[in-house]
C-alpha cells in the first residue's frame, strides 16, 4: 500500500512539474554558472549487478547511480536519507507494431480498435509502479515537437467492438472476427523478447495478447532471442511486434519509422505504413528550412499518424537517477536527471575537502574508439572527453553555443537547387588536452575524415555535406547538398576530433586510442579531446579514471 501511495505521489509530482509552462525555465540557463569541472578525479566504477550497484551507493562506494529501472530499487532508495533521487520523463517510447502490408492489419479500423482495447494505464500501473506513463502519441510528451491535439483512443473495449461492427466486421461462432469481405482473422503471433532478457516486455506482450483475443483477434505472444526478433522485423517476417525506442530531441524518428521510403530491408519502417499524404508531410519535416516549418510538419505528421495507427504507442519509461547527499551542485530539470554533464562540471563535496567522485558505469566500455563506438557505456566516457560545436539547453532542449560561440543558417541557391549553408564561429582560446589550440581545421578535418571513410556511426550526419571550408582559423563554413533545419543538429552535434592525432591514424576501424601512449605527454593516451575531462586510465572490469581538464575553456572562466 505504502509503495503504491509513494508511486502515485511521485507520478503526481512529476506531472505537476511537467505541466508547468516551459517558459519559466527558458532563458534562465547560464552555462557560465557551470564553469568547472570542480572535481579533480572522476572514477567510472564498473558494477554490473543492479543489487551490487545499490549496495555500493548505500555503502558510500559510489556517488552517482544513473538510470534506475527497477521500481523496487527506486522505492528502496527513496527511503534512504543519504541519497537524493531525481526523475524526469525521458525519450523512451514503447510501441505495439503491426505488419500493415497484409490482412488483417491492413484494416485501419482493426488497428484503431486494437489501440482501444489495450489497458495501457493498468499495465503501466501494474508493471512500473508509477515510474512510467502511458503514451498516447508518436513522440514522447517531453519532446519540444510533441503535438497534444491528436485523435486518442482511450481504453474502451465496447467502443472498439462498436467501431468494428459499424465497419462491417462480424464475429464467428468461435468469437473470432470476420472481415467485411468474409475473411476470418487467422491466429496472430505477437513477437517479443524473452522474459529473461526483458521481463516487463514479455509480460506486456502476454497481457496485450489477452486483451486483443478478448475482442476476437486471436493473438498469442511469441518470445524469442532479441537479435532473432530484430532479424524477423528486418525481413518483414512477422504479424505483430512490441519494441522500445530511445528517441532524440529531434522528431526525425517520425521520418525513419513511418516514411514509405524507409520500408526497405533493414529500414525502420517495419510496420510498412505507406501513405502518400503522410510521405509528403514527412518529407517536409525532414527538409524543413526552419524551426517553424519543422514544428508545423511534426505536428501534422503526428495527427496523421494517430489516424493511420501504424503502431500503438504504449508507454514511456521515466529516467531516474540517484546521487549521494555528500555532494552538492547537481543540476536537475524537468528534462534531465542529476547524472548529466552540468552536474559533473559543478559538483563538489557538501562538506570537507575535495575527494574523488565515483559514478557507476553499468557495463564495460567497449572499444573507446570515437569513430566506431556506439554503445551508451562508451559514450558515457567519450562524451566527457570530446566536445561538439553545439550543446543542448537542459531546460528547453534548445541548441546553445558550445565550441562554436555563434552560427548562421542560410539557404542559398546551388547548382542543383537550394541548399543550407552553416557558418560556425569557433570560440577562441580553446585547447586540446595536450595544449594544442583548437582551430576550424580540426572540425573540417573531422567532417572530411568521417565523410571520406563513410564511417557508419556518422553516416547520416555527414551524408548531406557538400563542402567544408575554413576561411580563417575560427570560421567553419559547411555547405550542405540540400535544405534542412536539422542539418545544424546533425553537423553541429558531431564530436570534434583533433587533426594532429587523427591524421596519424591509419586504420580508424581498429584504432584503440585508450591503449595508445601520447607521443609527448606521458599522462595522456590517444584519447585527446577538448572536453571537461581527460582520460587517464582504463582497468578492464574495474574502472575508468578521468581527471578534471584544467585547460577546459569554460573552467578557465572561473
Amino acid at each position: 500500500m505504502k509503495k503504491s501511495l509513494f508511486a502515485l505521489f511521485l507520478s503526481a509530482a512529476i506531472l505537476a512539474f511537467c505541466s508547468s509552462p516551459r517558459e519559466t525555465a527558458a532563458g534562465t540557463f547560464d552555462p557560465e554558472a557551470f564553469a568547472g569541472p570542480k572535481v579533480k578525479d572522476l572514477y567510472l566504477v564498473i558494477i554490473r549487478d543492479p543489487d551490487a550497484q545499490l549496495l555500493a551507493l548505500n555503502r558510500g562506494r559510489a556517488d552517482i547511480l544513473g538510470d534506475l529501472y527497477r521500481p523496487v530499487d527506486v522505492d528502496a532508495l527513496s527511503k534512504s536519507p543519504a541519497v537524493e533521487l531525481s526523475i524526469a520523463p525521458g525519450f523512451h517510447g514503447f510501441f505495439l507494431g503491426f505488419n500493415v502490408r497484409t490482412f488483417p492489419w491492413n484494416s485501419v479500423d482493426l488497428r484503431r480498435s486494437a489501440w482501444q482495447v489495450l489497458p495501457r494505464e493498468r499495465m503501466v500501473r501494474d508493471l512500473f509502479a508509477g515510474y512510467a506513463e502511458p503514451l498516447s502519441t508518436f513522440l514522447p510528451p517531453v519532446s519540444p515537437y510533441f503535438e497534444p491535439d491528436v485523435t486518442v483512443y482511450p481504453h474502451d473495449p465496447e467502443a472498439a467492438r462498436k467501431r468494428l461492427a459499424d465497419a462491417g466486421w462480424t464475429w464467428g461462432s468461435d468469437g473470432v472476427l470476420i472481415s467485411p469481405d468474409g475473411e476470418k482473422i487467422p491466429p496472430q503471433k505477437l513477437i517479443c523478447p524473452t522474459a529473461s532478457t526483458a521481463p516487463t516486455t514479455a509480460e506486456i506482450a502476454v497481457r496485450m495478447a489477452e486483451a486483443l483475443s478478448a475482442i476476437g483477434i486471436p493473438v498469442e505472444a511469441e518470445p524469442m532471442d532479441f537479435s532473432t526478433m530484430i532479424s524477423k522485423l528486418d525481413e518483414r517476417d512477422f504479424q505483430m511486434y512490441v519494441l522500445a525506442w530511445q528517441m532524440t530531441r529531434d522528431p526525425d524518428s517520425l521520418y525513419a519509422f513511418y516514411s514509405s521510403k524507409m520500408d526497405i530491408r533493414g529500414g525502420y519502417n517495419m510496420s510498412g505504413i505507406s501513405d502518400p499524404e503522410l510521405d509528403k508531410v514527412l518529407d517536409r519535416l525532414r527538409f524543413a528550412p526552419d524551426e517553424a516549418a519543422a514544428r508545423a510538419a511534426a505536428s501534422e505528421a503526428q495527427k496523421l499518424l494517430s489516424d493511420l495507427v501504424p503502431v500503438v504507442p504504449v508507454y514511456s519509461r521515466y529516467t531516474i537517477s540517484a546521487v549521494s547527499k555528500q555532494w552538492k551542485g547537481t543540476l536537475v530539470t524537468d528534462r534531465v536527471t542529476a547524472d548529466n554533464i552540468w552536474s559533473l562540471l559543478a559538483m563538489e563535496p557538501a562538506s570537507g575537502p575535495m575527494r574523488p567522485l565515483y559514478l557507476v558505469q553499468a557495463d564495460e566500455p567497449r572499444a573507446l574508439n570515437p569513430f566506431t563506438s556506439s554503445s551508451a557505456y562508451d559514450w558515457q566516457i567519450l562524451g566527457l572527453i570530446y566536445d561538439s560545436l553545439i550543446a543542448v539547453d537542459p531546460y528547453t532542449l534548445e541548441t546553445i553555443p558550445w565550441l562554436a560561440e555563434s552560427w548562421t543558417l542560410k539557404t542559398e541557391e546551388g547548382p542543383s537547387g537550394p541548399r543550407t549553408v552553416l557558418t560556425f564561429r569557433l570560440r577562441e582560446g580553446v585547447e586540446w588536452h595536450d595544449g594544442t589550440p583548437l582551430t576550424a581545421a580540426d572540425a573540417a578535418f573531422t567532417y572530411e575524415t568521417l565523410r571520406k571513410n563513410a564511417v557508419p556511426r556518422y553516416f547520416d550526419n555527414v551524408d548531406n555535406i557538400e563542402t567544408v571550408e575554413t576561411p580563417d582559423d575560427h570560421t567553419l563554413r559547411v555547405t550542405m547538398k540540400n535544405v534542412s533545419f536539422w542539418h545544424l543538429h546533425r553537423v553541429g552535434g558531431i564530436p570534434i576530433l583533433p587533426r594532429h592525432v587523427i591524421e596519424k591514424v591509419t586504420d580508424w576501424r581498429s584504432w584503440l586510442p585508450a591503449s595508445e601512449k601520447h607521443p609527448s605527454d606521458t599522462g595522456l593516451t590517444g584519447l585527446v579531446g577538448t572536453g571537461p575531462f581527460v582520460f587517464r586510465e582504463y582497468r578492464p572490469g574495474e574502472y575508468v579514471r578521468l581527471s578534471g581538464n584544467e585547460r577546459f575553456w569554460l573552467g578557465r572562466k572561473r
Binding site: 558494477i47 554490473r48 551490487a52 549496495l55 532479424s231 530491408r265 533493414g266 556506439s374 578492464p540 574495474e542
Partner: protein, 325 residues
C-alpha cells in the same frame, strides 16, 4: 601402450577438427543478424550494409570458413564485434580472474568435500555424518545468485569486512604486495561463495562412493589380514576412490572457463564467463568462436589427460592395456 596413447591423441585431434567445423557452421546458422545486434537504431540501411562489409559478413561462406580456420590455428581470433578489441586481448585480460576464481574454488571445494565425505563415510550414523549429509544437500541445492547476494549483503554491506565489487580497490593501492593482498581480499568472498556452493556435491559423492568401497570384499579381506586401519583407508579405500575423483576433477576443469557467469555478474568480476554469454547472445562470431574453441580444447585435453592418468592410478586399467599389446 604407446599405440593406445597415439590412438587417444589422434581421436582427440579429430574431435577438435570437428569442433572447428561445427563452431563455424552453428554460429552462422543461428537465427538473427549480427549486424542487427550491434548497430545504433538510427543507422540508415546504407550504414548497416557498410558495417556488414567491415566485418567481412558479405564474403561467401567458404571464404569466411578459410579465414576462420586460419585465424583459429594461429590464435589470431580477430576483433570482437562487440568490444572492438582483439579477442585474444579480451581473453588475456579476463582469463586470470576466472581461473583464479573458479580454479581456487574448485580445488578448495574438492579438497573440503573429499575430506568431509570420507569422514562421514567412516563414521556412519554419527552426528558428523548427518551434518555432512544435510549441509551437502543444502550446498548442492541453493541457487548461486541467492547465496552470493546474501553473502554480499551480510559480509560486504552490513558487516563491511569484504569489498562489494571487482578485483581491486578504486583507486588501487600502490606497490606489489599491497596490490596482491588487495586482489586476494577482493577474491575471498566470491571464492568462499563458490566453495560453499560446491563442496556439497563432492562430499555427497565421496561419502556414497566410500561407503560402497568400504563394503567391498578386498577391504574385508584387508581387515581380516589385520592390516592397520590407516593403511586400509589410505592404501586401499582411498586408492580405489582416487581415479573416479581425478576424472571428475579433470572434467570439471573446462567449467573453470565457462561456468562463472552469475558469480562474475554478482561480484562485478571481469571474467570469461560473461564474455562468453555476451558473445553468444550478441552474435559476436569471433569472440564466441574463440571461446568455444578454447572450451572444446580444454574439454578434449582434460578428457585425454584423465584417460591417461586413469591408467597410472588404477592398476586394473594398466593390466587391461598391457594385455592388449
Amino acid at each position: 601402450m604407446s599405440g593406445y596413447w597415439a590412438r587417444r591423441t589422434g581421436s582427440a585431434l579429430l574431435v577438435l577438427g570437428l569442433v572447428l567445423v561445427l563452431n563455424f557452421v552453428l554460429f552462422r546458422m543461428m537465427p538473427g543478424d549480427p549486424v542487427a545486434s550491434i548497430i545504433d537504431p538510427n543507422f540508415s540501411p546504407e550504414a548497416k550494409a557498410r558495417l556488414s562489409e567491415v566485418y567481412g559478413l558479405d564474403q561467401p561462406l567458404p571464404v569466411q570458413f578459410l579465414l576462420y580456420v586460419r585465424s583459429t590455428l594461429t590464435f589470431d581470433f580477430g576483433i570482437s564485434f562487440l568490444t572492438g578489441r582483439p579477442v585474444i586481448d579480451e581473453l588475456k585480460s579476463r582469463l586470470p580472474n576466472t581461473v583464479m576464481l573458479l580454479g581456487t574454488s574448485l580445488v578448495l571445494s574438492s579438497l573440503l568435500g573429499t575430506w568431509l565425505g570420507m569422514k562421514a563415510a567412516l563414521k556412519r550414523g554419527s552426528l558428523l555424518e548427518k551434518c555432512v549429509l544435510w549441509s551437502g544437500a543444502l550446498s548442492f541445492s541453493f541457487p548461486s545468485f541467492f547465496v552470493q547476494l546474501v553473502l554480499l549483503m551480510a559480509f560486504a554491506a552490513a558487516l563491511p569486512l569484504f569489498p562489494l565489487r571487482g578485483t581491486l580497490s578504486v583507486p588501487p593501492p600502490a606497490g606489489g604486495l599491497p596490490l596482491l593482498l588487495d586482489y586476494l581480499w577482493h577474491m575471498a568472498l566470491p571464492v568462499f561463495s563458490l566453495v560453499l556452493l560446491g563442496f556439497g556435491g563432492w562430499a555427497l559423492y565421496v561419502r556414497n562412493l566410500m561407503v560402497k568401497i568400504l563394503g567391498e570384499d578386498f577391504i574385508l579381506l584387508a581387515r581380516a589380514r589385520g592390516l592397520p586401519e590407516r593403511n586400509i583407508i589410505l592404501g586401499h579405500a582411498f586408492r580405489t576412490l582416487l581415479p573416479p575423483l581425478l576424472t571428475i576433477f579433470l572434467l570439471s576443469l573446462p567449467g573453470v572457463v565457462s561456468g562463472a557467469v552469475i558469480t562474475e555478474t554478482v561480484f562485478s568480476l571481469h571474467g570469461v564467463g560473461r564474455f562468453l554469454l555476451e558473445a553468444v547472445t550478441g552474435h559476436d562470431y569471433p569472440a564466441a568462436g574463440a571461446s568455444f574453441f578454447l572450451l572444446a580444447f580444454l574439454t578434449v585435453s582434460c578428457n585425454l589427460l584423465s584417460d591417461l592418468l586413469y591408467g597410472l592410478t588404477d592398476p586394473r586399467v594398466r593390466m587391461e592395456r598391457g594385455g592388449r599389446r
